[in-house]
Each structure stands twice: as structure tokens, then as C-alpha cells.
């Protein structure tokens, strides 16, 4: 009798410990994924610990997406600098007018080739804190056919806060041959959006003021694409990294963003906030997602196209 009682106590204690352990695991992404259905697919993010082991690997190209002055001051050793200003030159603006996407294949081959990126490269991009600028390079690499590209989770600030080595020494880059293989299915054009009309979910990644047109942000007309939903990009980004999977799940649920729908992201220029939304959804396994390269810069300049602004907000709900 005593033995049975002892066995029962031991069994229950073990069960108690296991369950308590499982509760503790709720904080990890793996279990969170089970409750939210949201997870970052493997291979998209790199931790600082892993990057530290890759600095001298010849096949690894580390790209600093921050502004040039920040890069010159300090950066992660061996990193090359591709600031977002390189995607907004007069050449790019002219190209976009006729092609609807920010940089030409020729410029892409030149730019990434000069950064030492080839088909064999593993590219790791980092940004200052959250990743709008890193997402531009990520998107162009993906669009032009280079899949081996990752983002440094938590960015440069985490690297520094961990006391890891930084330098102002600029690495001499051996140029590579970068050949583009464009993927038009990743991009939405104005005509594509007009043709699709109601069959797509359009996400306006800008601020609420830009969305309702009280801030025209230099566009010909203030406002947004009618039927677009406004998810400000930082609703999905924390101070130093992307938000937790639970928060992302709640935001996407709130706005009705689901994997079965065709999704288009846009901002003002089609680089930055729109590419961040695009990149994040891709990381979460959304397959039918495109970025609208022309964005509001193009849409608002077309006087024949309708626009949504504060005047269109209904008088009641």
C-alpha cells in the first residue's frame, strides 16, 4: 500500500514537472507558432552568434544597409555598404517612370557585382534597428533571382550591444559577376492592380496621415489607393527587430491578411516600407505577395485614377 502511494506520488510529480516545463516553453517561437499559426520560415534570419563565425568565409558577403556616414564611422568587419540612396538616383527615377520598378537589370548587375555578390554568394544584410532599408536590398536580390540572402536578426545595434568587434576599415572588394534572372511574379504594376481590382488585398504600409491624405508626402495627390488597408509598417516592427510572432499574428488577423489572398504592399516610392511588408510576409510563408514598385508616386500622378482620402471616409460606420 505504501509502495503504491509512493509510485503515485512520483508519477504525479513527474507529470507536474513536464507540464510546468511545457508552460515555460510557451515563450519560444516554436510553441507560439502552434497557438498563432505564424512563424518565420527557417533560413531567413541570422543570429549575431552565427554571423560572428562567418566573417572570414569567402562565400559570405555582409551588406551594411545603413547610411554611408554611419558605415564610415563603424561597421561590422568585412561588410560592404549599400545605402538606400543608391536606389533613388535620377537614373532610377527615370527608369521607374517607364518600367514601374526601382532599378534596372543593368544597374543591378553593376551594383551587386561591385559589392562582390555572385550566384554562389551567401548574402547577409543588416540594418540599423528594424529592417526597412535592409528589405530594399533583400527584395532586389530576390526579384533578380538571388535566393541565398538573409537578414541579421536585431541588426547592428544588437551586434554592438553584445560588445562584438566593429571597425571603420573599408574592405577592398573583389568584383564579381552578378547575372539577373528577374521574377516578374514578385512585382505588381499599376496595370496589374487595375486588372485585378477586387481580387487582391492591397496594404498601404505608410502612416495613417499619408493614407487619408492629410500628409501628401510630396506626391501629386494626397491619399491612398481605394480599397487599400492601412497597416503602418511599424505595427509589424519593434524598436530593434520585427515584432513577436504573437503581435504579428494579432495585427494580420485584425486587418484580415491571410495566406489564401493575393497581397500587394506599397508605400510612396516602392522601396522601404513597402519592401519591409513584402519581405516580412515572405518570411512568414505568404506565397502570393507582391510589391507595387510604382507605389503612390506613380498612382497619385495619374489624374485619371481614383484616390481614397479623408473625404471618402463615410459619415458613419
Amino acid at each position: 500500500m505504501k509502495v503504491t502511494s509512493y509510485k503515485l506520488q512520483v508519477t504525479s510529480a513527474i507529470a507536474f514537472v513536464i507540464l510546468t516545463f511545457l508552460i515555460g516553453c510557451k515563450k519560444s517561437g516554436e510553441v507560439e507558432e502552434k497557438t498563432t499559426g505564424v512563424k518565420i520560415l527557417p533560413g531567413y534570419l541570422v543570429e549575431t552568434e552565427e554571423l560572428a563565425l562567418l566573417l572570414d568565409k569567402p562565400e559570405v558577403v555582409i551588406v551594411d544597409a545603413r547610411a554611408e556616414d554611419k558605415y564610415k564611422k563603424f561597421h561590422i568587419p568585412t561588410a560592404v555598404n549599400i545605402p538606400k540612396t543608391l536606389f533613388r538616383t535620377s537614373e532610377d527615377i527615370e527608369y521607374k517612370k517607364t518600367n514601374g520598378f526601382a532599378i534596372s537589370p543593368e544597374k543591378t548587375e553593376r551594383l551587386f557585382g561591385e559589392a562582390g555578390i555572385s550566384a554562389e554568394s551567401r548574402v547577409i544584410i543588416y540594418d540599423s534597428v528594424t529592417f526597412p532599408d535592409a528589405s530594399i536590398i533583400w527584395t532586389f536580390l530576390k526579384y533578380y533571382g538571388h535566393d541565398n540572402v538573409q537578414i541579421l536578426k536585431s541588426g547592428y545595434e544588437k551586434w554592438v550591444s553584445e560588445g562584438r568587434h566593429v571597425t571603420n576599415e573599408v574592405k577592398s572588394v573583389v568584383k564579381s559577376e552578378f547575372k539577373v534572372k528577374p521574377r516578374p511574379e514578385m512585382v505588381a504594376t499599376l496595370d496589374w492592380i487595375r486588372h485585378k481590382k477586387d481580387g487582391i488585398t492591397i496594404l498601404d504600409m505608410r502612416s495613417f496621415a499619408e493614407y487619408i491624405g492629410t500628409n501628401s508626402a510630396g506626391n501629386k495627390r494626397g491619399g491612398s489607393i481605394p480599397s487599400a488597408v492601412n497597416i503602418e509598417w511599424n505595427e509589424l516592427a519593434g524598436d530593434t527587430t520585427i515584432k513577436s510572432l504573437e503581435e504579428i499574428h494579432n495585427v494580420l488577423s485584425k486587418y484580415g491578411v491571410t495566406k489564401d489572398k493575393e497581397i500587394v504592399t506599397y508605400c510612396n516610392w516602392g522601396i522601404g516600407r513597402s519592401t519591409y511588408g513584402f519581405m516580412l510576409l515572405k518570411m512568414l510563408g505568404f506565397e502570393k505577395v507582391r510589391v507595387y514598385g510604382g507605389s503612390m508616386e506613380e498612382w497619385s500622378a495619374r489624374a485619371d485614377l481614383p484616390i481614397g482620402d479623408a473625404k471618402n471616409i463615410p459619415a458613419d460606420l
Partner: protein
């Protein structure tokens, strides 16, 4: 022995119950995101002939009074105070989650030409 079993069973149930609580909490969604416009004021100001109160000095609820004269109560937990300072008594646009006659405010913007509204305008 029976008493011991009961205690252990209770302990087991509590632990198992704790394990499932977060899943239920996360699942409690399905609210609708909306964009609305109207006058940002307080419940008390709506009833006064003239309202001199600033919104943060008024203990009554902040409300949105729509052009069709519907009153929505506003919950404003995470919105910076300055956004309400610049919008109080004016026409504003609000993005938030609608729950009955309540809006959980996500963002708020004063609309152009929005000087402070007098009671007559309301």
C-alpha cells in the same frame, strides 16, 4: 489514499489548465478595423452648452461624434497625449477597432480646416 489522489488530480488539472490559458486568450479576436471621422470631444462636453474643458481634465469618456450624430466611446490606451491635444474639439479621422459602440483607437489625425468646433456646429 483517496484524499491524496484527489489532491494530485487537482494539482494536475490546475497545471494542465494553466497550459491552455494563453491559447484561449490569443484566440479571442475577430474585431473589425475601421476608419471613421467626426468630432473628437468628451461625453460631458457633448451635453454642455459651452465646453471649456480640456479633454484630459474631463473625467467623462472621450467620444467621437460622427456627422450622422452617432456617439462612439473611445479607448485610447497607447496613443500619445499630443495627438489628442491637437485633435480635441476638431474634426478628426480615427483608425481603430470597433467593438459595439466603442472604438479602440489605433491612430488619430486632425483633419484640414479643423478649427475648434463650437457647440452649434455639433
Amino acid at each position: 489514499m483517496k484524499g491524496q489522489r484527489k489532491i494530485l488530480l487537482l494539482l494536475f488539472s490546475i497545471t494542465a489548465g494553466l497550459f491552455f490559458i494563453p491559447s484561449v486568450a490569443i484566440g479571442g479576436e475577430g474585431s473589425e478595423i475601421i476608419v471613421a471621422k467626426g468630432t473628437l470631444t468628451t461625453e460631458k462636453c457633448l451635453k454642455e452648452p459651452v465646453c471649456y474643458l480640456e479633454w484630459y481634465k474631463d473625467p467623462s469618456s472621450l467620444v467621437l461624434f460622427t456627422p450622422k450624430r452617432t456617439v462612439y466611446h473611445l479607448e485610447v490606451n497607447e496613443i500619445p497625449k499630443w495627438k489628442f491635444n491637437s485633435g480635441f474639439g476638431k474634426q478628426v479621422a480615427i483608425k481603430g477597432i470597433l467593438k459595439g459602440n466603442k472604438i479602440l483607437v489605433n491612430d488619430i489625425i486632425p483633419l484640414e480646416g479643423g478649427g475648434k468646433m463650437s457647440k452649434a456646429c455639433l
